[in-house]
């Protein structure tokens, strides 16, 4: 009897019209960077060059901020809120119409499986615009006073793990609240942001309301330090977040920072075991573990640990690793060489410090950047792999004996972004949720997102919230704080 191996089922690349080079999107037009410098973006699954991207330096940032300021004072802040909302609805609908194109470009540039970009990233990004479109003309009912005002020009810097979705989290609430934006996508994943710039043109968004500047950390720093920016919204590493906090500390700029995490996924003895195993897999292997809220610490009750681990290993053997464009792929490519090196470095410390590594047997593609789904057992709180964010498909497994010990271990982290609770007992879930110091807590599920639900962390996981009414607050000022 032959085996039922799924034949390759690749999504077609034909729909993605990736240009050979892109300029910066400033004032509603694509313009060449002033110094004429550029950098390359690659497909991390094949190492093929996808496009040449304009590199924005200080002068380009200045032009982008000026264009955003002009659009703010002359057009966007004067426009009736209902009209603003219409543009957001229009963007949302165009994103849905072009969903397949966005999904293909995202997967090519990022390395994530097409199933995830198609079923998660793009629909959620569109949902964020729909949700915030509804808020645009209802801000006075949001609970921030009679006449909440926008802040002005917002500088936004986003990471490479969910390029379009993070763009939506940033731009949708900013525009709904009446701000204009200068957004810098990550260096390794600029393409969907540039495609989004085309959507803004298609939707007729007034010139300068949305500006997209591409570049690296230096570009980002120029945006953060620009004197005419009223607010910085950043998602990325805790180190960069701290640097941003320092550099704006003597200014009137406000900031929201979504930083790192090392989420505890707590599995109690009375959990629905099979679904908990699914949740563990989803928690750490979704998006190659490139998720700030990934459930990277499994903290499981000792009396069910063996059963859970046996089932988890069986389940991990079914994870399909490979071509991200294949519709049946579960785990795609690591986004960059740099990130792959970082995953290797921290994971190797797990071996050195005495934890036990396990991965299913599988063959990784020879080209591109890959890391197998991996678990470490015998991990203790003092190991680096239990404390540092790996941002890859690597799970650290710890055990506990009593509920109190579970909470103690879960909270014993410098981070506090998210946590998971697996139990069939409602009272236990509510009790645990009250004890956990984490901004987002999922019970009997993991990595669920909704535009109406605020997202953000405790401790070194960041400042402020994104999404929902709480997220909107970060883009609005009370009367006294209104910008010039």
């Amino acid at each position: 009897m032959s085996e039922f191996d799924y034949a390759s089922a690749p999504e077609s690349k034909a729909i993605a019209n990736i240009a050979s080079n892109y300029g910066l999107f400033i004032g509603g037009k694509f313009v060449e960077p002033k110094q004429g410098k550029s950098f390359n973006t690659f497909n991390p699954a094949t190492e093929e060059l996808l496009s040449k991207i304009g590199y924005a330096d200080k002068t380009d940032i200045d032009a982008a901020v000026k264009s955003a300021r002009l659009a703010y004072t002359r057009v966007w802040s004067k426009m009736p809120a209902k009209e603003r909302g219409k543009y957001l609805y229009r963007i949302a609908r165009i994103m849905q119409e072009r969903a397949r194109e966005f999904a293909v470009v995202e997967t090519l540039d990022n390395g994530k499986p097409i199933r995830e970009s198609r079923d998660t990233d793009i629909p959620l990004a569109a949902a964020h615009f729909f949700y915030h479109a509804g808020w645009a003309d209802k801000l006075e009912y949001a609970g921030f006073g009679n006449k909440p005002k926008p802040l002005g020009v917002v500088g936004q810097i986003i990471p490479w793990n969910f390029p379009l979705l993070m763009l939506a989290w940033k731009i949708a609430p900013a525009l709904a609240a009446g701000n204009t934006v200068v957004l810098k996508p990550a260096e390794t994943t600029p393409l969907t942001a540039l495609l989004f710039a085309q959507v803004c043109q298609q939707a007729g968004v007034p010139e300068g309301v949305v500006n997209i500047v591409t570049g690296d950390g230096v570009t980002g720093a120029a945006l953060v330090n620009h004197t005419d920016v009223n607010k910085i919204a950043f998602t990325g590493s805790t180190d960069v977040g701290k640097a941003i906090a320092r550099s704006i500390s003597a200014t009137k700029k406000t900031a929201t920072l979504e930083l790192g995490g090392k989420a505890a996924n707590l599995v109690f003895e009375d959990a629905a075991i099979d679904e908990a195993v699914e949740g563990i897999v989803n928690g750490i292997f979704f998006n190659q573990g490139h998720v700030c809220c990934a459930g990277s610490r499994l903290i499981v009750q000792e009396n069910v640990a063996d059963e859970i681990l046996e089932k988890l290993k069986k389940r991990m053997s079914l994870i399909r690793v490979g071509d991200p464009m294949d519709k049946n792929t579960d785990l795609g490519a690591i986004n960059s060489k740099e990130q792959l090196n970082k995953i290797h470095e921290i994971s190797n410390s797990g071996d050195a410090e005495g934890a036990n590594r396990w991965s299913p047997e599988l063959k990784l593609p020879s080209k591109g950047y890959w890391y197998p789904p991996t678990i470490f057992t015998g991990v203790s709180q003092s190991h680096r792999i239990a404390r540092e964010e790996i941002f890859g498909p690597v799970l650290s497994v710890l055990t506990f004996r009593t509920p109190g010990e579970a909470i103690e271990k879960a909270n014993n982290s410098m981070y506090g972004l998210s946590a998971g609770i697996w139990s069939d007992k409602g009272a236990k879930i509510l009790w645990a949720a009250r004890q956990l110091k984490a901004g987002v807590i999922w019970s009997n599920t993991f990595n669920k997102f909704d535009p109406a639900s605020p997202f953000g962390g405790y401790k070194e996981s960041g400042w402020g919230r994104e999404g929902g009414r709480h997220g909107l607050a970060g883009y609005l000022a009370s009367e006294a704080k209104v910008s010039k």
Binding site: F4, Y6, A7, D119, D270, D274, E275, E278, N444, T445
Partner: protein, 311 residues
Amino acid sequence: MIIDGSETSLRKFLSDLPPVDQVGAEARAGMLATRSIKTTSKAWAIDMAISMVDLTTLEGADTPGKVKSLCAKAVRPDPNDLTVPSVGAICVYNDMVKIARTELDAIGGESIPVAAVATAFPSGRASLAVKKLDTQDAIDAGANEIDMVIDRGAFLSGQLYQVFEEIQVIKQICGDKAHLKVILDTGELVTYDNVRKASYLAMLAGADFIKTSTGKVAPAATAPVVLVMLEAVRDYFTLTGKKIGVKPAGGIRTTKDAIKQLVLVKETAGDQWLTPDLFRIGASALLNDLLMQRMKLRTGHYASANYVTVD
């Protein structure tokens, strides 16, 4: 043995089973439904699905003529293409068993088993004495497989041991003459926790197969129900080393539905369950859709429904 056969040990075992989280089970089944099965895998899956079909007619209007023509279809599903495999079994009411067996033997279908629905199918509302006679009657008529229904009323009212004993009695009558498939009728059990509990109860009592439905109650073989049953046979195998089969029945009408079932099998119980010995699909209309998709794969175009036989 994982239980000692007493009511206490059965109850303890069943109440110790981990719960099923409804949202999680449905999400997993939903994700597996997105698998994209193309080209060579699709061809393999279609032939496998055909060989797993329990070709069924369970109507008050069944006649010897209807059953005979179903037998012909079972042996040679596509008269124009003899590379099409025969189906897994014929499934009929008791009084049609002899007709089906004789006909199959006469036309080259000796290896195709005849399954009879017994124990007061579909409701199961009869005395144990009647159910025993019903089963014995089917076996005497030459049935190779018995598809019995459990007493859902007893299950739902907590009389788990009564259900258990009933299955044991029927299993004893089957002996080595007939395979026993136990129909849980999951549409009447409703919750996934009940499906898991009933699956284990049936396996512990001696079922060779656990089957979702009678086909008379909707919903029938939904993906999450089949997922939960496949998890049960997988874990029962780990526990006992015994492989129990699974038979979804009811509501599987298209090739797409059937392939989704095979994906569930592969990614839950594993490749070793992908055989008619351990997985069957109870259906009637499904077979023709499988045949038409098979033709489409070979020729590149869809034929009209007149290119497959109605029965």
